[in-house]
């Protein structure tokens, strides 16, 4: 590449860098500064308040309440989604532990269906499920009434005891299919003769999943875990569409708190401070994840 590489470098790098610096780097850098001010956004008047926003927020029970919901999501969403994903993927790909080691018939058709929620916009999934949970006209209560379980029909998203679990269920619904496909791809890479040997030894279905399949797809499981944990730190779109954090803050998440503080109450300094807190949360999840996920690859020879 001798003939003058600098014209190409300039033409290829500067536009991308310009856009990236203006709309990504500069906002990220400014956020830390704004978090130290009491800026209300309407005028250019603001005072440096040091860490006041943070000390205020650390004593703010609404933020802790929202954070607690994110932590619950972080504990539950990965476990439920991965368990369901592994279970369904093994049903699709591994066969039945009785010597027949190929997947079930129509497995690609199932995969198309399972994966479908992944292509819908999260906010549209939120609108869809808001209607499903509708106490009067919703699919869920309608179904419960139809089979005579009227007592179980609830005002799902209107009841502080159920709303959080209703939102969590939607998150699992929306993500499980993706992991069926991801884990399915990993399972396809496992040599068939391992299963044949296990079947000869009389290994049952559950033992096969737990002792053979799971260890061999562990790499994918770890990736899924990190990704879902980071997803659980967000949750904004679904919550904003379905409940706006209510009823009585029972589904509030940190992202919703930040949005309300910054763009509802116009407390931009405080909103930015919540953004900084979210950054450190994401960072610590990533760091913990990188430390925990040791790379011990199993090579299939």
């Amino acid at each position: 590449m001798r003939h003058g590489k600098y014209p190409l470098l300039a033409a290829f790098l500067l536009p991308a860098l310009g856009v990236y610096a203006t709309f990504v780097i500069s906002p990220y850098a400014q956020a830390f500064f704004i978090a130290m001010t009491d800026w209300q956004g309407l005028s250019s008047n603001f005072n440096m308040v040091g860490f006041d926003n943070f000390t205020y927020l650390l004593k703010n029970s609404y933020l802790w309440n929202a954070l607690w919901h994110n932590i619950l999501l972080m504990l539950l969403l990965p476990v439920l989604t991965i368990a369901l994903g592994l279970f369904l993927a093994s049903m699709l790909n591994v066969g039945n532990g009785t010597g027949r080691v190929r997947g079930v018939r129509g497995s690609s058709f199932y995969k198309i269906i399972f994966f479908a929620p992944q292509v819908l916009s999260v906010a549209i999934i939120g609108v869809l499920w808001k209607e499903i949970y509708n106490p009067r006209s919703g699919l869920l209560n309608g179904g419960l009434r139809a089979i005579g379980l009227d007592g179980l029909a609830k005002t799902w998203l209107g009841d502080p005891d159920f709303a959080f679990w209703a939102v969590l269920a939607v998150m699992v619904w929306a993500n499980a299919g993706f992991y069926v496909v991801l884990f399915g791809a990993a399972m396809q890479a496992i040599p068939r003769d391992i299963y044949e040997a296990a079947a000869l030894d009389g290994t049952g279905r559950w033992a096969t999943l737990w002792r053979i399949t799971l260890p061999l797809v562990w790499d994918s499981v770890q990736v899924a875990w990190v990704y879902l944990a980071i997803l659980a730190l967000d949750g904004f779109a679904l919550v904003q569409v379905m409940t706006r954090g209510g009823p009585n803050f029972s589904t509030d998440v940190v992202g919703q708190r930040m949005y309300d503080v910054a763009f509802g109450e116009f407390k931009f300094g405080q909103g930015s401070a919540i953004g900084v807190i979210m950054f450190f949360l994401t960072l610590s999840v990533t760091v913990v994840a990188l430390r925990l996920t040791r790379r011990e690859r199993i090579e299939f020879s």
């Binding site: 590449m1 590489k5 190409l8 470098l9 033409a11 290829f12 790098l13 991308a16 990236y20 203006t22 709309f23 990504v24 780097i25 906002p27 990220y28 956020a31 369901l84 369904l88 699709l92 039945n96 009785t98 027949r100 079930v104 199932y110 995969k111 198309i112 269906i113 929620p117 992944q118 292509v119 916009s121 999260v122 549209i124 869809l128 499920w129 209607e131 009067r136 006209s137 699919l139 209560n141 309608g142 179904g143 619904w173 499980a176 299919g177 993706f178 496909v181 991801l182 791809a185 899924a224 967000d234 904003q240 940190v254 949005y259 763009f263 930015s272 953004g275 900084v276 950054f279 994401t282």
Partner: protein, 275 residues
């Protein structure tokens, strides 16, 4: 016989989850044809007649047509821009040695570590000062900017794996550096471009936080945002048929495109997962 019975187990679980996934989508579509009374009183009932006019009302009075168009315009421009800026930057970083190369690379890739929430407040004012608040071009450029980290990361890894022999042969034939990129390297990078393109398209289509903050003017709502607003309004006004028809209009075209390209979509998204 026992083997067949043994096989009933997995099939039934798969069928149950399949129904749980498909039923809500089918329900929305069927409800789109119902009257308001039917929707309210018989959630599981079928429409007495196919009320096609629901879809027309959703498209025009519900402004779904407008929102649909907004989304299509934003995504077509932002995706093109993302791929163009991302591929050129990734190529320069992957195939050229120059001082600062690593620094620029890690500046791009480091963006993947930051949550968008951190940037939100300053971003709002940056976009406002550029005069792009409440506009579609504002969304396009912001979508592009936030898609660059992953695009550069993915494509520069891809360009690095392309064989140098082809590039050398082209250079000997007198191919200039720009022609090299557009006529030799880009075509060779097609599989990578398709994967990252699908990943970005779905990622940008999935956006809700950015449009909600950056576009508050109703005429410029994107589809997801417009539907969410419609859902809130319909709750007060009781025009449920229009909402369900609108939801169907937002869901079905996407599912049709997905059904046609499902293999590419699945591999594009799972490739993104491995970052």
């Amino acid at each position: 016989m026992p083997r067949e019975l043994g096989n009933l187990g997995p099939q039934s679980f798969l069928v149950i989850w399949g129904l749980m996934t498909a039923l809500p989508l089918v329900w929305v579509f069927v409800s789109g044809f119902k009257s308001d009374a039917e929707i309210l009183n018989e959630p599981w009932g079928l429409p007495a007649q196919l009320r096609l006019d629901n879809f027309g009302r959703a498209w025009t009075h519900g402004h779904i047509g407008q929102y649909f168009l907004n989304s299509a315009i934003v995504l077509s421009v932002s995706l093109t821009l993302t791929m163009l800026l991302g591929a050129t930057a990734a190529y320069a970083l992957a195939r050229y040695q120059f001082p600062g190369n690593r620094l620029i690379y890690f500046t791009f890739v480091g963006g993947m570590m930051f949550p968008v929430f951190l940037a939100l407040v300053p971003l709002f004012f940056v976009v406002k000062q550029s005069g792009l608040l409440n506009t579609l071009p504002g969304l396009m450029i912001v979508y592009t900017a936030y898609s660059l980290p992953f695009t550069v990361f993915f494509l520069s890894a891809f360009f690095r794996t392309l064989p140098t022999a082809v590039a050398e042969a082209a250079m000997i034939d007198g191919c200039g550096p720009f022609a090299m990129f557009f006529r030799v390297m880009l075509p060779m990078a097609r599989p990578g471009l398709i994967s990252v393109g699908i990943f970005n398209l779905l990622g940008q289509w999935n956006q809700y936080l950015l449009p909600v903050v950056l576009v508050t003017k109703e005429d410029n709502y994107v589809l997801a945002q417009g539907l969410a607003a419609l859902a809130v309004n319909e709750g007060y006004r009781g025009d449920y048929s229009r909402l369900f028809a609108g939801l169907s209009l937002a869901i079905i075209p996407v599912l049709v495109v997905y059904a046609v390209f499902q293999r590419q979509v699945q591999s594009g998204l799972t490739a993104g997962q491995m970052k």
